[in-house]
Symmetry: D2
Subunit: 359 residues, 4 copies
Amino acid sequence: MIDVAVLGATGAVGQRFIQLLENHPWFRVAEVAASERSAGRTYAEACRWILPTPMPANIANLTVLPLEASFRSPVVMSALPSEVAKTLEPELAKRGHLVSSNTSAHRMAEDVPLLLPELNADHVQLVDVQRRQRGWSSGALVTMSNCTTVPAAVALAPLLPFGVQQVQIVSMQAISGGGYPGVASFDIFDNVLPYIGGEEEKVEAEPRKILGALSGNQVVPLAAIFSASCNRVPVLDGHTVIVSVKFAQTPSLASVREAWQAFRPHEWAHNLPSLPDSVLLYNEGLDRPQPRLDRDNGRGMATTVGRLRACPVLDIKFVALSHNTVRGAAGGAILNAELLVARGYGQRLQVPTAQQAHA
Amino acid sequence: MIDVAVLGATGAVGQRFIQLLENHPWFRVAEVAASERSAGRTYAEACRWILPTPMPANIANLTVLPLEASFRSPVVMSALPSEVAKTLEPELAKRGHLVSSNTSAHRMAEDVPLLLPELNADHVQLVDVQRRQRGWSSGALVTMSNCTTVPAAVALAPLLPFGVQQVQIVSMQAISGGGYPGVASFDIFDNVLPYIGGEEEKVEAEPRKILGALSGNQVVPLAAIFSASCNRVPVLDGHTVIVSVKFAQTPSLASVREAWQAFRPHEWAHNLPSLPDSVLLYNEGLDRPQPRLDRDNGRGMATTVGRLRACPVLDIKFVALSHNTVRGAAGGAILNAELLVARGYGQRLQVPTAQQAHA
Amino acid sequence: MIDVAVLGATGAVGQRFIQLLENHPWFRVAEVAASERSAGRTYAEACRWILPTPMPANIANLTVLPLEASFRSPVVMSALPSEVAKTLEPELAKRGHLVSSNTSAHRMAEDVPLLLPELNADHVQLVDVQRRQRGWSSGALVTMSNCTTVPAAVALAPLLPFGVQQVQIVSMQAISGGGYPGVASFDIFDNVLPYIGGEEEKVEAEPRKILGALSGNQVVPLAAIFSASCNRVPVLDGHTVIVSVKFAQTPSLASVREAWQAFRPHEWAHNLPSLPDSVLLYNEGLDRPQPRLDRDNGRGMATTVGRLRACPVLDIKFVALSHNTVRGAAGGAILNAELLVARGYGQRLQVPTAQQAHA
Amino acid sequence: MIDVAVLGATGAVGQRFIQLLENHPWFRVAEVAASERSAGRTYAEACRWILPTPMPANIANLTVLPLEASFRSPVVMSALPSEVAKTLEPELAKRGHLVSSNTSAHRMAEDVPLLLPELNADHVQLVDVQRRQRGWSSGALVTMSNCTTVPAAVALAPLLPFGVQQVQIVSMQAISGGGYPGVASFDIFDNVLPYIGGEEEKVEAEPRKILGALSGNQVVPLAAIFSASCNRVPVLDGHTVIVSVKFAQTPSLASVREAWQAFRPHEWAHNLPSLPDSVLLYNEGLDRPQPRLDRDNGRGMATTVGRLRACPVLDIKFVALSHNTVRGAAGGAILNAELLVARGYGQRLQVPTAQQAHA
């Protein structure tokens, strides 16, 4: 098994890391780190566990390390606040760790892959550029996108052949996206918050990089214009996006549906343990997808689309949904780490065989 | 005081009529009618009152009339189901009643005004056409729009001089819009329902009629294209719409703001008792409007807009909100009835003076 | 595998039956039946599926049978409305079916076992009385308690040696307990409903029978007085009860805790597939149990208790919680059917071996 | 008008003070004070206003004073955190202010009145003791109870003649009781929190002082035993309590109802502007009171009781409800200040006549 250090381990995304890695066939949480307030206490003491499955017993007794610790785990998963991640993540990569980050700090850096492996696993090759340019011998830094970017990017990827030109996105985002304690109940109860700081900028920029093409040393962003309006709604988990799209060649609704149904993940993503059977599900129900009913599809790693119909203003419109703290955060960063390992970026790291993993 | 019959009086909108008319300066609820199940019982017996203010004592003792009754009130306010309204509302108008309907059945009929008096009070003149064409001597039928149409139409009206061409609307609608018992808690709890039957068609059609120009015997619809995506969210009252607009001449954000701030209701709407001081409020808060904080603005009769900014795909985008069962239903239909009376369509009806109203 | 017919299969509890039986090692849903409205259509057509896991594919295509059908499955699980169950359930038992009912109609009948097998599996012997008295040769009727009874009864069972004399129960019940569509969102949203029809009577009577002793042909009810106040709160699943108890010999808090921790299920319940590893969990957290965090303990079949402390009025007080539609309804009725089969009441029914079950 | 300083003015209760005092006939908010973080900024800048009515324009421009300021307002209303209130409130009383506190710090002090004026207005005379003992010439310190104490105490007061002996209280408390930001949405969403720190101790102690008799220099607490279990539920405003009571002489249900209906507030509370027409309402509805429907009764100052019935364990049980941030916090403290002024404790303070108040 490959040892993993989880940074920001006591927060909402950190807890998801711990939960999702509990029975992971390749990875084993060996170290947990968090801010000064938590360091030195056991994880059970330091963490107000907010997930409905029990805290894994072996993690409960780990001592929380300070963020400045020398980690011995080759793989680092980061759920750090952006300002901390800014310097610490590259520092850890420099020291030789494979850093899979869920933070926004480095997503848009030219030599940092922004990965949804089912869509753009080949972008992981930016790590070669990164190592060359930064002089990192064996470390790497890869990033997971914003949680609201996921359902939009996954739903759009199969439609790129039609020439995506304009995309309108209105999101209805779950409260778990705000971290913990995050959104005050008094603010969101019986309410909609039509603003989430910094979110719209991310949703307008990230899909262009994710859906862009790797060319030589860089990713050429998708030449499409995105407009995003981001809202918080009283839903626990699961981000819903309402998407309208204009294409170079307007496809029929049937051909959009076919493109979705024919979609297969990038071949480098095949066999990654966290990839679900179907990364994109089309639900024909008149009123689907819905967050409570569809967020757990594919163990929280699938995106569900539905309500495909013509848009009188652009060309088509539809609804897409994925789980914001699983596919859209911790689960996604784990998938990225799996890709790093599977592509051999951890030189001495061996993926355990199925037998070893179960032993 | 002018006697009013409320039809569909025991339902969610019917109760709002009763509540809002309790201390109305011109109108007095004299008759309540509902379906067979309720007829013959007192209102207190027949109605499961769901509003937080007490049921008015004088209404509690009224006997609920059947819908086929001969009403003696000159004014009829209708919260009937569409299929019942289809034949009953014109029949009542034919019998000489001023019918102010909140139902969708007749909204798009060519000779029926679809009124938001602050925007298009002059459309009430279609009643003259209606009377001529249908041979009604003293009756009239006017309609109130769909509740989601309201915030969009009110926010767009001041912007017509810039040449509205395309409008994208994504709604987040309150559960009270589904009537009572309406939406099952099990469906909407911790959830978003991305579909509301028939709603998108209404929101794409009604604003064009409301914002159209009266020309001779007809309303020429606004030559703009609307696209709507309607969603139910776990909010009690207040419909929020996310709007993107493309114009013939792109206005600056400042000029949009000025247009909103300079907006004055149609002069025929001045002095109508249900018109709030401001029909359109611009809230500069970064995260406003919000349904829980802004739905009651102007006693539930104002529309609040905010978050004005450039739209990378169309020209501008913003958020608008109004109370769906007050401005968007019962309150709106009362305002329409006030307009009918103020414009003299009830020949023998006299608006009480302020002194009389208080006596 | 043993064929099962699910009656009332399209409702909220019926769906839970279908879900929980999907991979059951002994039982296989072979028939589904529901009211006239649904009969004749496929299950997929007739049922608005409201659970977050997908409808099992093999059930989707079953034709819904009318309730009057001749079922060929030896085991019948019933989620019928009480008035229908009243005559149909005994009729089916008479015809030779093993009927495991989730309905209240026959719970308190003297010769009908009211089973929580972990507590009173021996009560299943009332079936012998039942068969003798009613002249049923091979059929049987056993019942599952009210969902709110469960957490109280499970928490009290280990404390019987101290002489339970008085019990005060205040419940905070989930909306799924009201069935589907059940509680209107408009009623429960931002609200507490301090009344649930018929519930308090059940919660005051059923624990006495469940915790009573089988003596000859009858159950002698526990000689304790129960007082219940039942409330609906805006929670999706999971009933929480606040319990105060007075004993003949006041135990120390430590001995109560020990009694809970030492509790073992009735030996006849051992090895029943639906029995969780622990039927009773004591959570030491200051603020536990909580419905969202604890309802799924033991795959929804465990009861979690916490906040044990002295009660200034009676002797002790604590909080208990269990999943109302799993342990408190469908899961409980499945457990009862397992007990019937394991105790040999289905004469020709063979429990599959582990190998057969997995084949 | 009498000038008032509001301390802790930017918090949840502080905002309620500002809101409720906006059109008060006697009081005028002249000064606002808050912690260092806010001091020096305008109230509009310092305060995230969370109430659905607009922030009063004249308050928005007040500069927030530091808590150490020398206030010139004769009356001080305090919504301070307990640890700050501990020293600051007596200090302000010593300086001559009439301090009406909503904090728990001094509630149980022997010479500090704990006032619900409708029940125990005469306890205000402890101010005389206080002044004597502490050497305060013109200042005073009076306190408002815990918000959950209110519905229980108001409902029990009329029943004292029957000899209240034992009281079981289970509360279902609104999230606004946790202040702002207070309860994290992630904690309370789809959940019940069966623990509120320090609450049960207060609810078990405070009613005994409130319902006790003033005798000479002290209040003799009610000789009854209280047991409280306090829970947070997903409700915005309004605390519901489930109460069971044992009496010395068991009254009939009819005589309990009569006692409630015959209840009149203490005569010293008559004519206080914040006293509602009825302080105690008995609602005969089968499922009342409910927080969303009944919390605003009497402009949020009334307590509503219902569901009176026999308790099999004690004698009777019922449900009581009041608004936790109006009657249970700011509104209550304003009422207490009114009582101080009306009883002449502010020597030079004159209550404005009705004409002056309206001018």
